[in-house]
């Protein structure tokens, strides 16, 4: 008997196993919950259901009900309810659970359906896996192995289609590999609202293309590459560069805005090859912006700082730290912290500023939000600066108060944590008036003007946490080793703070978090290690009144 369940749960029977699943779940997802794989291509949990690939066909039945008494008819042999099986197979993606629903995913009919669809998908497929970027993460390969017959009966000529269409600046299409699942079309139409893709021609000659005069050029175009189940859509950047099975995957966070899209960084032997989104249904679903994927290029970009400098001469970290402190000893110090620093770094930055009795500033970085996954606040961690107490109010444009203080002669030394002060609004004259200590990754006007330069790391070379626009604290992990000559920001900051007289723990995440937990009430229960991969929402009420710049975006609504 099907046990009665909570009103919002529906009990279904999948291959003899009973499971209660939320109403509205489809058969593919319900089966997933009992560990049963229903192979599929066109279905994507974040897109509308079109039911075109027919790979997910299953058998479905409902308990027979006596029309007179409305009670279930029992099978005399087993004493269990008799099931009326629908003779035609049904699509699992388009079939939602209903009470008493019975599903067979392993019957001879289902097996035959899958073998048929697999065979059909392969007859006109070029089978060029040896030169295909998707190999290793290809649903066609996986499901051909899992559900196909393993041999071909096709002796005819295969269809010929365009092999390398530039759909846009970042996406290359091989139409022969396309299985016409329409995921890419639905994604760009439904999620990005940029309806540019479609099929032309009919039947097996159907061909994916852009509408005349259009391009797949939106800032989310590379998500089509991620969701393409085959190697039809490829990233022009990643194409032919590396076999995916050689790549190490490291969880990270997109730092291009306060959205904090969850990502995976794919690297091999210290070189990053691509960044892809990581599913977080509270933040970015399964998507991320193209702009965020390019960020790995900063690791090897020209101008990367790898030499410690004091007064323009090569130096050592310890000498540089001493020199920095020397420039701060007479007071009149300003610390320019960063909304790009991690929570841990901001906390130590605050320690440093306190020890130096310095004023603290934060660089504001605002641009138009796209309503999806790039928010107006282009700093990934302004809220971290609030939570750690580095700042109490939101940063204003152009470092206005710092500029005024320099003009007034109150500031003699500026310690900049990764921020280009010129870019942030200080004039060349203002820069010339002060002594600059610069911690950073790339050369710029500030590093050029600095008396002390301490090379630090990009987000890909270190670990830490960020607090996104939702006040969700999320962690990123070191994907590749630091370049020789550059030091972890946390280490540099801790050295400076200690030299300035502050008490800071060893520059190591566990120790830092132990200290943070005792000092920062909002973070008292958190450690880096126990932070879930999808992050943790902090209580935002202390900052509810602040006029944050973000507008509405995916999974985020600004407080009124």
């Amino acid at each position: 008997m099907i046990a009665p369940t909570k009103p919002d749960l529906v009990t279904v029977n999948i291959d003899g196993k009973e499971i209660a699943v939320p109403k509205g779940t489809n058969v593919i997802e319900a089966a997933r919950l009992v560990g049963v794989d229903v192979p599929h291509y066109c279905y994507h949990p974040k897109l509308t259901i079109v039911g075109n690939c027919r790979m997910c066909l299953i058998e479905m039945g409902m308990p027979a009900v006596d029309p007179a008494t409305k009670t279930p008819i029992l099978d005399p042999a087993t004493g269990k309810p008799k099931i009326n099986w629908i003779p035609r197979p049904q699509i699992g993606c388009g079939t939602n659970v209903s009470p008493g629903l019975h599903i067979r995913t392993q019957s001879p009919l289902v097996k035959d359906c899958r073998e048929g669809v697999m065979e059909f998908l392969l007859i006109n497929h070029p089978l060029d896996c040896p030169i295909c970027d998707q190999a290793g993460e290809c649903k066609l390969q996986e499901q051909a192995t899992g559900y196909g017959r393993g041999y071909s009966r096709f002796v005819e000529q295969k269809n010929v289609k365009p092999k390398r269409t530039q759909l846009g600046p970042r996406v290359t299409l091989d139409d022969e590999r396309c299985i016409l699942c329409s995921r890419c079309i639905r994604f760009t139409k439904e999620i990005v609202k940029d309806d540019v893709l479609g099929f032309i021609d009919r039947g097996s000659h159907s061909t994916l293309t852009c509408y005349p005069g259009k391009q797949l050029a939106n800032n989310y175009s590379l998500n089509t590459v991620d969701i393409c189940p085959v190697g039809a859509l490829t990233s022009t950047d990643f194409r032919f560069k590396m076999r995916v099975w050689f790549l190490k995957q490291t969880n990270s966070i997109d730092t291009e805005s306060s959205v904090g899209a969850n990502t995976v960084v794919w690297s091999r032997e210290g070189t990053i090859y691509r960044i892809t989104p990581r599913q977080n249904d509270g933040v970015n679903d399964t998507w991320m912006a193209d702009s965020g994927r390019e960020r790995y290029k900063q690791v090897r970009a020209a101008g990367r700082l790898t030499t410690v400098k004091v007064n323009g001469n090569d130096s050592s970290p310890q000498i540089a730290v001493n020199a920095a402190l020397h420039f701060c000893k007479d007071g009149g110090v300003a610390v320019v912290g960063s909304g790009r620093s991690s929570v841990e770094e901001q906390w130590v930055t605050k320690k440093l500023a306190d020890a130096l009795k310095a004023t603290t500033h934060l660089v504001s970085r605002v641009g138009p939000g796209d309503g999806l996954l790039v928010s107006a606040d282009r700093n990934p961690n302004v809220r971290g600066a609030l939570v750690t107490g580095l700042i109490a109010t939101l940063p204003t444009a152009k470092l206005a108060s710092l500029a005024a203080a320099i003009d007034a002669g109150q500031i003699k030394t500026v310690v900049s944590v990764g921020e280009d002060l010129a870019d942030a609004g200080l004039t060349a004259a203002q820069l010339a008036k002060v002594t600059i200590v610069y911690l950073g990754t790339h050369a710029n006007a500030t590093s050029a003007a600095a008396k002390v330069v301490l090379p630090t790391l990009t987000v890909f070379e270190k670990s830490g946490t960020l607090v996104n626009q939702q006040f969700r604290i999320q962690k990123f992990t070191k994907a590749v080793p630091a370049p020789a000559g550059a030091t972890d920001d946390l280490v540099v900051l801790a050295k400076l703070a200690t030299a300035a007289g502050a008490t800071v723990p060893a520059a190591e995440l566990a120790a830092v978090w132990k200290a943070i937990a005792t000092e920062v009430p909002a973070l008292s229960t958190i450690t880096y290690a126990n932070l879930p991969e999808t992050g943790l929402l902090l209580d935002a009420t202390p900052w509810a009144a602040l006029p944050f710049v973000e507008g509405e975006s995916l999974h985020f609504k600004p407080a009124k």
Partner: protein, 453 residues
């Protein structure tokens, strides 16, 4: 026994000398009198008449029209649309076009009555793209009817308003499938929709409840409302009420369109007595009874079983010639009445070549959404094309059957059945011809690459 006489109720004036397709002629023959009366009756009464009549859709599936109207979601508060399916593209079928060309006001009257019955305020006639002449005639007829107050605002002075627009189809067979048609009418590719959830009666045109009926079906509605549902049941046979129009093409002496009471005429009577039998010196070999997608019948085969006659079950033992031409009888013997397109093949026809032709059509017309239909239809076409081009293999028959078996019942729309039934039935009935084709034909490989389209 001679064949029964034609009973022309829909084709009453088709090819009648002096009958023109303008409004004055239609009015002279009693036109729009049924509509005038209908709009004074309660709409439910009209629906009940249609239910009582047992009218089955003439578009192909034979679904009861009254039941279809009963499924319409009338509680949603959304407008209800009616679409006239005038896409007539099933090979072998040519009845709707004659109605539209020669008697368009009959269709308009039937449509308006159906609209009034179902509280429809806007209807579309979706006419096959390749019928520009028909579209022009309909436009003109609609303009006349609008001017005379039969279409548009305040119909016949009752306060009821409903307009009809002609929409020219997108030039593909799949545009005739009702959900593909709806997509096309919305301005998109005619990709059929999945059902559930997109049953037209609930989520049709613009996601509103929608009725899709064939041209001929709606003409029958006019007859039913005029004469009553009971009177209609007295035409034809039980469960196969009214008349059927047969479009006979192929190897008979007198191909053409003929209207008979459903089930009152047999295949033999239709082909021999009405259509004059085979061409001189030829013999009938095969016939497809309901449009090219219906399963083929082989002359000489016998169909045996039990069927219901009145309250009794009686044995039947039929040859092709004995089969009554109605939905149920043709369905019983494993084929279908479909759209009424009767395609006759005599002993000059090679079945492999005939199937190659049909397969070429279906592979060209698959919309391409579902894997089995898209790939299967083209694969079957490639096999039969290769066979007729001289490279047949003994194993092709089994392969064709196996490919065809992987399609029906596994697709979004009934095109999956339509494209696989020909192959399944040709192989089942003429398997020997397929197996022996390589030897029998001995066609040299063509020197140039020739293709069948």
């Amino acid at each position: 026994m001679p064949a029964p006489a034609q009973r022309r109720i829909i084709f009453a004036h088709i090819d009648e000398p002096g009958y023109t397709n303008d409004l004055p002629c239609y009015l002279k023959h009693g036109g729009y009198e049924v509509l005038k009366k209908a709009v004074t009756r309660p709409p439910q009464e009209l629906i009940d008449e249609v239910k009582k009549s047992g009218l089955r859709g003439r578009g192909g599936a034979g679904f009861p029209c009254g039941v279809k109207w009963g499924l319409v979601d009338r509680k949603s508060g959304k407008p209800i649309y009616l679409i006239v399916n005038a896409d007539e593209s099933e090979p072998g079928t040519f009845k709707d076009r004659y109605i539209m060309h020669q008697d368009p006001h009959q269709l308009i009257e039937g449509t308006m009555i159906s609209c009034f019955a179902n509280n429809v305020k806007l209807a579309y006639i979706y006419i096959r793209g390749e019928m520009p002449h028909g579209a022009r005639i309909l436009e003109k007829a609609l303009a006349e009817a609008r001017a005379a107050g039969f279409v548009g605002q305040n119909i016949c002075g009752t306060g009821y308003s409903c307009d009809i627009f002609v929409h020219r189809g997108a030039g593909a067979y799949i545009c005739g499938e009702e959900t593909g048609l709806i997509e096309s009418l919305e301005g998109k590719r005619a990709n059929p929709r999945i059902k559930p959830p997109y049953f037209p009666a609930v989520l049709g045109l613009y996601q509103c409840p929608t009725i899709v009926n064939n041209v001929e079906t709606l003409c029958h509605v006019k007859y039913i409302v005029e004469h009553g549902g009971d009177a209609f049941t007295r035409i034809g046979t039980p469960n196969n009420t009214g008349t059927r129009i047969f479009c006979v093409s192929g190897h008979v002496q007198k191909p053409g369109y003929y209207e008979f009471e459903a089930g009152k005429i047999t295949m033999g009577e239709l082909l021999n007595d009405v259509c004059g039998g085979p061409l001189p010196g030829r013999k009938f070999k095969a016939v497809i009874p309901g449009g090219s997608s219906a399963k083929v019948m082989r002359f000489g085969e016998r169909y045996k079983g039990k069927r219901k006659v009145g309250a009794d079950m009686v044995d039947y033992d039929w040859g092709v010639e004995d089969v009554p031409m109605d939905f149920d009888s043709l369905g019983m013997i494993g084929t279908m009445g479909g759209s009424g397109g009767v395609i006759v093949m005599d002993d000059t026809v090679n079945m492999v070549e005939a199937l190659a032709n049909i397969n070429a059509f279906y592979s060209h017309e698959s919309c391409g959404q579902c894997t089995p239909c898209r790939e299967g239809s083209l694969w079957m076409k490639k096999i039969t094309t290769r066979m007729v081009h001289g490279e047949a293999r003994a194993e092709d028959a089994a392969l064709l059957k196996s490919v065809a078996d992987q399609i029906p019942g596994r697709t979004i729309c009934a095109f999956g059945e339509a494209c696989s039934w020909p192959t399944q039935s040709f192989i089942a009935k003429f398997g020997d011809e397929f197996k022996g084709y390589a030897d029998a034909k001995k066609v040299a490989k063509p020197t140039e690459e020739a293709t069948l389209i």
